[in-house]
Each structure stands twice: as structure tokens, then as C-alpha cells.
Amino acid sequence: MSHSLAAAKTPAAGDAGTRAMPSPIRTRLLKSIVGFGLLAIVTCLVAPLIGSSPISLARVFDRSVPFSQNVDAQIFFVARMPRVVAGALVGAALATAGVVFQALLRNALATPFTLGVSAGASLGAMLAIVVGATVSAGPLSAVPLASLAGAGLAAAIVYRLATMQDRAMSTTVLLLAGVTLNSFFSALIIFVQYIADFAQLYRAMRWIMGDLDVGSFDPIVAALPMILIAFALFAWLPSSLNLLSVGADAASARGVDVGRTQRLAFVSASLATAAGVSLAGPIGFIGIVVPHLVRLIVGVDHRVVLPASALFGASFLVVCDLAARTLLAPLEIPVGVVTAMLGGPFFLWLLVRKG
């Protein structure tokens, strides 16, 4: 398993960090930010206008009706807007975490969920649901709180294992520890679900499928600081990641502090993953589909790939959620199913193409 994974390398970034590129980096960055940014803005503006129930925009903004009695306004501001905002944030967080993990592990098939962070988060959430925990901290209720704790625990274990031997992280140990922890936590998740009663099991399964119907801005406010810190940390990474994706030795020879870059990459990507999963559950395939599609369009330079993936990830998840909430209305398709339906075939195509 690990050998075949390790064999599939990221499209080498070459000496993107230092050598002059066909077109100057600033122009390409500007072009892709404008392009993907416009897409994200249009998606986020259009998505709240469409839904399972027809609403009138005039009524949404009609101040003469009190908000507490304005159904159209509540559908717009309570049901749809938080969904779109949560979708954009989670999409951006998971897509960029995917980019960073792929560079850190030098593996095209790495996802935000490869290293066990999301399995840890899921275990935490399952426990909170089955135990019926009622603890809360500010806007964080029991389930997201427990999923953050689980993600933190998983990340801490993997980090500790990978940094035990020497100062730089061993990507092989990272991968092996992560994949093992993933299986271990998955087994515990199955056990927790097994001891759950029917109603809890329903809710636990629903959480695992991923869900952006957050119902208010509170959970978003709770996850936002973590996502912003992760994005701020990402800003330090692109040039070092370009060199790191060639190889640790090569990067080190060019003056990159490899250990520091790896630690920063691991911590920031884990933080983004944990925040995204605590807000919306483990929504799969964004972290692999979006980075690869973006690389196909803008090339492999992380200075462009990272911001472009954030913007495209936001649009991608908002569109997937739009499909999830409208295609079978009044029923919903779990958004994780929609991303997997689009992402699964793409992932397979990618595997075949690489082979």
C-alpha cells in the first residue's frame, strides 16, 4: 500500500521557486486569482438564489415585514447563506490542505484525510453522539468540539511518531503512521457505531456523510479563526513547498529549512482539515480533485496553486452543495455523495493516467 502510494509522485515542481518561468509569476498569479476569484464570487452570489423552495428576492429584502415572520428572508438568511458560506470555507480549507499534504508527502494521491486527522475527528464526533455529550465551549457544541479534540489527538500522535528519529520529519513514517492510524480509528468508529442505539446510529451515519446545513452562522464563527490561522500559515509555505516537492535534500541544498517547513506544513494543513471537518463532517474528494484540476490549469508552482485551489475549492463545494440540496428536493443528497460522485471517477482517471 505505502509503496504504491509513495511511488506516485506529485508533478515535480522543478525549480519553480527560483528559475524564471515562461511567463512572469506575478502575471500568472494575477490572472488565476482574477479568474478563479470571479468564479468563486459568481458561485457564492448565485447559489443562495437557488434552492428547493422558490423565494422572492423582493420579499427577502422587504423591511416592512418583521424578520421573524418573513419566510423568504429566513430561507435566504438562515437556511441558504450559512450553507453557502460554510461550503466556501470548508471547500477552500480542504482543497488547500490537499495541496499542502501532497507537497509535504510528495505524493499525488495524498488527501487531507490520508494522515488520520479526519478519522480522529470522526471518532470524536461519533463518541459525542453516542455518549450524548452536552459539553460546549462558546459557539462550539459537543459534536464539533469532540471532533476537534479527536483531530488534535490524531495529529499529535502522527507528528510525534514522525519526528521521533531525527529533526526533519520522515515522510515515509508520516505516511505509514497516518495510514495505520486511519485504519485503527476506523475500527474504533465501527465499534462505537456498533454499540450505538438506532437513532444515534442514524445521526452518526449522517455526520460521516458530510453536511453543510449548519442552520446559523455560529458554527461558522467557531471554525473561522482556525481556518484563518491555517491560511495565514499557508502564506509562508509556497516557495519552500516548490523546492520540497523535488526532494528534501535538494531543498536543503538550496537553503530551505526542511524540518521547519515540514512542521509548518503539517500543522497548518492539519488545522485546516480539522476545522473543515468539525464544521461539515468529512467531505471527501475535494482535497484531491481540486488541487489536481487547478494544477492542470495553472501549472505546478505552489505560489499560484495554493490561492487558486482555495478559490476553486470554495466554488466546487458550493456548487456540489447546490446540487445536493436541489436535485432530489424535498429530499437531500448528502453532499459527500455528490463530491464523491464527481471526485471518484476523476481520481480513477488520475490513477490510470499516472500508471
Partner: protein
């Protein structure tokens, strides 16, 4: 060419007869049932209600009612039946879910009779009672119980007749701290039928499923006048009610929220399609039409 479909029909008819015959046969030779294992809580309740309680030697891990079951051995449930323990109890009748085909095959190999149960709404309660009564040799008792249940439900229906039927959202699972992970009753199943008898109109009656996971948008759009939350386990405290009202407060345009018509009911009689459906339906009716019970 013409003969073929005819022959096919004849073969199918013969198969149907052959398939039905042993079923009828098992249900006829019934009087000698002395050791029953029940994996289905609703049917355990029926057995005790028709006087076959003393023959029940083990129940499922989900059984809670009647109190006599508390002292009986547990042999797993729908997903984890403990075959070894079931066989060790030497039952002569095992009540299992229709979907437990492996269990039924193993019991057939051990030459133990099986009563196969499938969930089929309120009408299913009556047909199951008749079949179960025949299987354990208590047809008269089961007919009497069926009549009691029917007249209880008819009485409730008469009591709320003529009153305006509130559009109701029947919730049976939800994240306690938010409006996430909501499961409600669709237009199929005994909960939906109980709601109808209790004088309510299910806002998700048009969805032909037992359970629906509605989005917040759909709940806002369907605008229920009453929200009934059903919890199978746990006693309710005043803080639970306060928390539920606060959580629903985020969708304040829903008429049920505006008029404070959110009822939280608790108890397993609300979710087990057995002899206590009358009690469950009465609890719904009292929440929907408090004036009818003054």
C-alpha cells in the same frame, strides 16, 4: 408460442402454492409452543399482551417492555443475534426480522420454527397479531387484543374529529444542540399513521418514505403549525424543553415556533409498533388537541 406463457403461469402458480404451503403449515401446528425467543421488541410486547409471556425464554437487547423482560436473558438484536445462545436455549419458536435471512437459514437447519416479522405500518400491527396468535396457539386472545387496539384508536379518532388538523412536523432524531441531523417521519410507517389518527397532518406526507432528513430550508418552506419531537429513551427535564425551544428559535418564521407549539414526548411506547400504539397515539392527540382532553 401461445402455450408458453400459459405454461409459465402454471409453473409460477404451482411455485406460489408450494411456497405458501409450508408457511401455512408452520402456523397451523402451533399449540405445542413452549419456549419462545423474540428478537423483535414489538412482538415481545404482543406475546405478553396475549398471555404467551410465560413461554418467552429470551428477548433482544433492545427489549424494555413489559417489566418482566428485564429478568430474561438477552440474545442480541437485529444486527448481532447471538446464534450460540439462541440455540443453547433450545427454543421451539424464534421470532426474527424478515431481513435476518442468515438467522432464519441457520434455525431452519437446526429444525427450529421461525416467525418472520416485517415492519408494515399500523395495519401490520393487526396482521402480525393475527399471525402471531395462530403461531403460538392463542388466536382468541390475539383477536381480542386486536379489537381492543382498534377500538382504542377509533375512540381517539372520534375524540379529535371535526377539529382543525394542524400541519405537524414529527421529529424522531436531532442533534440536541442544533437543528442538524434532523430525522422526521415521511408519509409511510406507523408514526405517520398514528399522527393521522391523532388529528394531525404530516407536513412530509408527500414523501413516500418512513424517514426523511429535511434541510432547514424545507422545514421553513413547509411551515409546520406544530412540532412534535419524539424521544425513545431518557426522561425529560425542564432544561431539555427550554433547550429545544431555543434551538427551534432560529427558524422563528415557522408558525409552530411563533405560537410556542413545540411538544417533546418521551418513552418507548411512542416508537414501538406494538400493543401500546394506542397510548402513543393518545400522547400525540393530547399534544395536538389539548382541548379535546379537558
Amino acid at each position: 408460442m401461445v402455450a408458453r406463457p400459459k405454461r409459465l403461469i402454471a409453473v409460477l402458480a404451482a411455485m406460489a402454492v408450494l411456497w405458501a404451503a409450508p408457511r401455512a403449515a408452520t402456523q397451523q401446528r402451533s399449540t405445542s409452543v413452549t419456549r419462545i425467543v423474540s428478537l423483535v421488541p414489538a412482538l415481545t410486547e404482543m406475546l405478553f399482551a396475549i398471555g404467551a409471556g410465560p413461554q418467552v425464554v429470551a428477548v433482544s437487547s433492545y427489549d424494555e417492555f413489559p417489566p418482566e423482560v428485564k429478568s430474561l436473558p438477552r440474545v442480541g438484536a437485529l444486527l448481532d443475534p447471538d446464534m450460540e445462545r439462541i440455540l443453547a436455549l433450545r427454543p421451539d419458536l424464534v421470532i426474527s426480522y424478515g431481513s435476518q435471512t442468515d438467522v432464519q437459514a441457520q434455525l431452519a437447519r437446526a429444525k427450529i420454527r421461525v416467525f418472520s416479522y416485517r415492519h408494515a405500518g399500523l395495519t401490520g400491527v393487526f396482521t402480525t397479531l393475527t399471525e402471531l396468535g395462530a403461531a403460538v396457539g392463542r388466536p382468541a386472545e390475539s383477536e381480542r387484543l386486536a379489537r381492543e387496539i382498534r377500538s382504542g384508536l377509533d375512540g381517539l379518532q372520534a375524540r379529535v374529529r371535526g377539529r382543525p388538523k394542524p400541519r405537524t412536523l414529527l421529529v424522531f432524531e436531532r442533534d440536541p444542540a442544533s437543528l442538524r441531523g434532523i430525522y422526521v417521519s415521511g408519509g409511510l410507517g406507523f408514526l405517520h399513521e398514528m399522527l393521522g389518527i391523532a388529528g394531525g397532518v404530516n407536513v412530509f406526507a408527500d414523501v413516500a418514505r418512513e424517514s426523511v432528513q429535511p434541510s432547514i430550508e424545507t422545514i421553513l418552506a413547509r411551515a409546520p403549525e406544530v412540532i412534535l419531537e419524539v424521544r425513545a429513551v431518557g426522561l425529560l427535564g425542564p432544561s431539555d424543553v427550554a433547550q429545544a425551544k431555543r434551538v427551534w428559535g432560529t427558524v422563528s418564521s415557522v408558525p409552530a415556533v411563533q405560537h410556542g407549539r413545540i411538544a417533546i414526548l418521551s418513552g418507548d411506547h411512542l416508537v414501538v409498533p406494538g400493543p401500546r400504539v394506542v397510548q402513543g397515539t393518545e400522547a400525540f392527540a393530547r399534544a395536538l388537541h389539548p382541548d379535546a382532553f379537558k
